[in-house]
């Protein structure tokens, strides 16, 4: 029995067509990744590749381990005492989960923007400049700050009050400030954990535009619970869902990973289809 899918999400065509897979350069290769808190698995057996200079979205119902997953890419989960993981994540061919890898160096290359804006209690200027200074990128600091703020589409709004506290900005501006802070230190990859979940539509739009403009320089991985957002910004989309194991165990699992267009218009898995057509959760 075949079902014809009426996509509930209108896919905008601002995205350029993705080159064929063999011409894509994988930046992350995830293999058999399990992430475990204490005795409870959050995600199990995830394998996928993330490609350079694309925006990759991770979608799925809440509780499917999206956030846990994205925090594996820059070892942020190391900070949680009971956390363990097995499997590998290769970044440019190098396993970053290995114990001999310095998590600080990993994070230096792979920046992150968090769900809730978390500016430092410093001035707008220092919020951006502090990381550069600490990491030794001291030359042309002013130009660097201006560039980062411009890229984050915040410069025009704050150029006259760079000395004001970062906390004096609105929520949307704060989040863009956090993005500026992340890109000012020139990472290779920017991870975004539901960056727009606490923002108004205008701020959300600004952030999406930003990803679009910057993806020629950076690789973005974005977790979102908002399918429209994934459809708008992502080149590739991974759909995670909650699976039931034995004894009532529930864990997140990668169901399907493909070009965004394919995920939203012709998914190959029934569960993906249910989710994107709104029949799930």
């Amino acid at each position: 029995m075949s079902i014809t899918i009426e996509p509930t999400v209108r896919v905008e065509t601002r995205r350029q067509p993705i080159p064929p897979r063999e011409r894509l350069e994988p930046i992350f290769e995830v293999e058999g990744l399990d992430a475990i808190y204490g005795a409870k698995a959050a995600i199990k057996d995830v394998s996928m590749e993330v490609y350079k200079n694309l925006v990759t979205a991770i979608i799925g119902p809440s509780g499917c381990g999206k956030s846990t997953y994205i925090r594996c890419f820059n070892r942020m989960n190391d900070l949680i005492p009971t956390f363990r993981q097995t499997g590998t994540i290769r970044y440019h061919g190098q396993d970053i989960c290995a114990s001999n890898i310095d998590p600080v160096a990993v994070r230096r290359n792979i920046g992150m923007v968090f769900q809730r804006p978390n500016p430092f209690p410093k001035s707008i200027y220092d919020n951006v400049a502090w990381g550069c200074r600490v990491l030794g990128m001291k030359e042309d600091l002013d130009a660097r700050v201006e560039r980062a703020l411009t890229q984050a589409a915040l410069w025009d709004e704050v150029k006259d009050r760079l000395k004001a506290s970062g906390l004096s900005l609105s929520g949307g501006q704060q989040q863009r400030l956090c993005i500026a802070r992340a890109i000012a230190v020139e990472p290779d990859v920017v991870l975004m954990d539901e960056p727009a979940s606490a923002l108004d539509p205008i701020a959300t739009q600004a952030i999406e535009q930003l990803m679009h403009q910057l993806k020629s320089q950076y690789t973005f991985v974005i977790v979102t619970h908002n399918m429209q957002q994934a459809a708008r910004v992502a080149d590739m989309t991974a759909f995670f869902s909650i699976s039931q194991g034995g004894e009532g165990e529930r864990y997140g699992e990668l169901i399907e990973y493909d070009a965004t267009e394919k995920i939203f218009t012709a998914p190959s898995d029934k569960r993906t289809e249910d989710y994107v057509t709104g029949r799930f959760g």
Partner: protein
């Protein structure tokens, strides 16, 4: 203020009058308890002020006391004021860095089991009576080599340490994890995150805790009795000597038979009390201001 009782058919109001009477009595007692607590403070401050007023003049801080005084020459307690400044100042320099480091360890580095051990140790240390700290330092340092201001400072620092550590742990716990994560996600190492992001954010609370701790130990007598109390009348700023302090001076003067000595005790007590009240209120003001700032100006 009285409220109208509901009346009407079908309303169940069993024993309501009696229950309301009990309630009113209990509420009245709670008001009374609060009134008593405040009245005590008022009476203490008033009696100290009233009795100390006559001797409250510049002589108190500029003139030295006179041994076995039979004259009416003006005398003061300049030695005690100098000693208190030196001893409390050094105690602060000892306790503050140690307390902050302990708190940083507990909050930023220690694994959970060690964290609970250290917090328990801090709580236990805070509960050791001041007089026991006094004889501990006496046995450890004074026996055989004599008293000194420095040893007095050490005993006060032991009293301050758990206080500073506790308040700092509390403030560090209030620093949002999001800030640590933001810094770490930039690839900033942990020590730099702690020193440049976490501690600056907590500095207001640490300052408040320090002011309170200083106010508390400035009035401590017990640990100093055994470590810095056998003193001369000279005004001395050298911490290698045993130094007189305001609380010890008050303690000694209070046991003197001479009413003039009592008056000086009251006057010194008044100065001490004003300092401590001022410090406590400053700390409180710092705390509210800080809370307002953390809440986003």
């Amino acid at each position: 203020m009285s409220t109208q009782d509901l009346t009407g058919p079908g309303l169940r109001l069993d024993h309501l009058p009696r229950r309301k009477r009990v309630n009113r009595t209990m509420e009245g007692l709670a008001w009374l308890a609060a009134a008593i607590a405040i009245a005590i403070l008022g009476v203490v401050v008033y009696s100290v002020g009233q009795r100390g007023w006559s001797e409250l003049n510049l002589n108190l801080i500029t003139k030295q006391p006179i041994n076995f005084s039979l004259t009416n020459a003006p005398q003061g307690l300049s030695n005690a004021f100098a000693g208190t400044i030196v001893i409390v100042g050094i105690a602060m320099l000892m306790a503050l860095p140690a307390g902050i480091l302990v708190a940083v360890y507990v909050n930023e580095f220690a694994p959970a089991p060690i964290r609970s051990v250290i917090t328990l140790v801090i709580d236990v240390l805070a509960g050791v009576p001041a007089i026991v700290i006094g004889i501990f330092v006496f046995v450890l340092l004074v026996v055989g080599s004599g008293q000194s201001g420095l040893k007095g400072s050490f005993s006060l620092a032991i009293l301050m340490l758990p206080f500073v550590a506790r308040t700092t742990i509390e403030v560090l716990a209030l620093v949002p994890n999001a800030l640590r994560e933001a810094s770490l996600a930039l690839g900033v190492p942990r020590w730099r995150t702690t020193l440049s992001i976490v501690l600056p954010r907590a500095i207001g609370g640490i300052l408040t805790g320090t002011v309170l701790a200083v106010a508390r130990v400035a009035g401590e007598t017990a640990p100093l009795l055994f470590t810095s109390s056998v003193v001369g009348v000279q005004t001395d700023w050298n911490p290698a000597h045993a130094l007189q302090t305001i609380p010890v001076a008050i303690f000694e003067l209070s046991e003197s038979p001479d009413p003039k000595d009592h008056a000086r005790a009251w006057a010194a007590g008044f100065v001490l009390l004003i300092f401590i009240l001022f410090a406590s209120l400053t700390a409180r003001w710092l705390a509210t201001r800080n809370a307002r700032k953390l809440a986003g100006r």
